[in-house]
């Protein structure tokens, strides 16, 4: 870690996540070290105590996710970070987080799988796990930045979205980005917003933890703040106690979806690269999108009209933006560092009406620009 004297830090991506989390107001981390995410925990263990925050190395990933939710319900801005098998272990409690509406951020530094897979090598094969990993109907917000400056800003945004919508938010990076050192300029505090969850201001003894009469997001009151309230993973009513009232449950589950799908103007984020007059379109995210951008640049130098759409918010999938981008393209290419996951969303977004070429790879060696360039040349 270093800095060049002009405010540019030369940091590994994992360090960027930790520094940005603290910049976003994170004051609690619970985790269990796992490659290639461990540097996030390590850095948080250094940073948090300095600012009065708390770092706990838990006995395992399950406990870590539980501690993060507990801290969140006590009012903390909580973070955990993991990878591969660790993410699998967190999923049960992640569902609990959705159910009890606990704001928190979960970082998955993706590595090869399934199972122990490729501990020290990258992959993008947890995209669908981020969406559907825990059981049950639930909306998901997942962000997948590709550059270190963006990792910094998206980590802050992950905390803000978690707070605003009272739910866990997943930050997806991979080993390529986690261990890559590159330049990042941490923004000044007045250059970004910090969002706090809406708090209940009524009488503590009249507090209803899931009172949604005023809107889809129930006002929050932390534990140990005068009010006593019940938390359960069971479907519950406004009191927080279990209910089997089918009508209420259906309304409540739709409310959860509305929190995300009704606020896409705040949540959605895509970036374009050389897309204006493109006849061939590439849709790619995270570190692979960087290889795709390099390929687009090379193809443009050869006169091929190709451009890229890069979802930064990967869940909810930016289907409208992909439709607009893809509908007039003569070919779409979807490079992803897995055996094909985002391609299903792209197919749906363009109504199965465009020819799509997949570029897939597994095994720990990232997709190279030359491989994407070859795909461009095939369809050009």
């Amino acid at each position: 870690m270093s800095e060049n004297g002009h405010g540019v830090k030369f940091w590994p991506g994992n360090i960027v996540v930790a520094e940005a989390a603290v910049a976003a107001g994170c004051n609690f981390f619970a985790g269990y070290p796992i490659t290639p995410s461990s540097e996030i925990a390590h850095q948080m263990s250094l940073l948090l105590p300095r600012g009065g925050g708390h770092f706990v190395q838990m006995e395992d990933e399950l406990g870590a996710m539980g501690a993060v939710i507990g801290a969140s319900l006590a009012g903390a801005k909580a973070l955990t970070a993991t990878s591969g098998p660790g993410m699998s272990l967190k999923l049960e409690n992640l569902g609990f987080g959705y159910m009890v509406e606990a704001p928190c951020v979960v970082v998955n530094v993706m590595r090869g799988g399934p199972s122990t897979g490729l501990p020290t090598h990258p992959s993008q094969s947890d995209l669908m796990q981020a969406r559907w990993g825990t059981h049950g109907d639930h909306p998901t917000i997942a962000l997948a930045p590709a550059f270190h400056q963006e990792i910094f800003l998206e980590t802050i945004r992950a905390f803000n979205l978690a707070e605003q919508f009272r739910m866990p938010v997943i930050l997806l990076i991979d080993e390529v980005l986690g261990h890559l050192s590159e330049g990042v300029v941490p923004p000044e505090r007045d250059a970004y917003e910090i969002v706090e969850r809406a708090h209940d201001s009524g009488e503590p003894d009249k507090f209803l933890p899931y009172d949604v009469t005023a809107g889809d997001i129930p006002p929050f009151r932390p534990y140990f703040d005068g009010a006593t309230w019940h938390t359960t993973g069971l479907n519950h009513d406004e009191t927080g106690f279990p209910t089997t009232d089918a009508k209420h449950i259906q309304q409540d589950m739709y409310r959860h979806y509305r929190k995300v799908l009704g606020n896409r103007d705040v949540i959605d984020k895509v970036e374009y690269y050389m897309a204006d007059d493109a006849e061939i379109g590439i849709v790619s995210f995270g570190s692979t999108a960087r290889a795709a951008m390099a390929a687009v640049k090379q193809a443009r130098e050869q006169g091929v009209k190709v451009g890229l759409l890069r979802p930064v918010t990967v869940w909810p999938f930016p289907k409208d933006q992909v439709y607009e981008f893809g509908r007039d393209k003569k070919y779409l290419i979807v490079p992803e560092f897995n055996l094909g996951q985002m391609v299903y969303e792209v197919e749906r977004a363009v109504h199965f009406d465009r020819p799509i070429k997949r570029v897939n790879k597994v095994g720990g060696v990232p997709i190279y620009p030359s491989e994407i360039l070859a795909a461009i040349e095939e369809v050009a």
Binding site: S2, N4, F10, R290, K297
Partner: protein, 184 residues
């Protein structure tokens, strides 16, 4: 300008630091830099490497694919990481520790610098290996100014070791220049 370098060794020789200093030096000159170390249990004794990219433009793809400078301090790291190297590229090996396939003599510009022996005899402490290794690159590749490398090294060196690290850099530069003169 787009430049790719790879430093390889075995864990514990401190070679990862050399790559980081190159990246720092590039930053000091206002260039863009990216560094990717191997991350495995190998940092504790197995073959290790660090890849560094320096570019005038923002770096899109952060991994190496056509390496312009390769340095190796161990045969097993040479064999494991000696791929994607451009033909004719300067390749620095420590002749006491690295044996290369005979066909590589023509494929690359092999420069034999006894880095470990030099470090031991001139500096007396092996912690300066990475600074000597850096010196070989400075002598062979004209991508980053010597002064920037010195400044980055000074900034990175643990307090109290700055003078020795800078001295180690000079040892690497001078030895490589002498070897090059003898080769030509």
């Amino acid at each position: 300008m787009h430049f790719e370098a790879r430093f390889s060794a075995v864990g514990g020789q401190g070679i990862i630091l050399a790559g980081t200093i190159i990246a720092d030096a590039a930053f000091l000159e206002g260039k863009h830099a990216a560094g990717s170390p191997t991350y495995t249990a190998q940092v504790r004794g197995g073959p290790t490497k660090v890849d560094v990219i320096v570019d005038d433009e923002p770096i899109l793809f952060p991994r190496t694919s056509e390496i312009d400078f390769f340095l190796s301090l161990a045969t097993r790291s040479y064999n494991r990481f000696g791929a994607d190297i451009k033909q004719g590229t300067p390749v620095v090996i420590d002749p006491n520790l690295v044996t290369i396939p005979p066909e590589h003599e023509d494929k690359y510009r092999i420069v034999r610098v006894p880095i470990i022996e030099l470090t031991s005899s001139e500096l007396g402490r092996m912690v300066y290996t990475s600074a000597v290794a850096l010196g070989t690159m400075v002598a062979l590749v004209d991508v980053i100014g010597e002064d920037s490398v010195r400044a980055a090294l000074k900034r990175r060196a643990p307090k109290g070791t700055e003078t020795y690290n800078l001295q180690a850099l000079e040892v690497g530069i001078n030895a490589t220049r002498e070897i090059l003169a003898a080769m030509s």
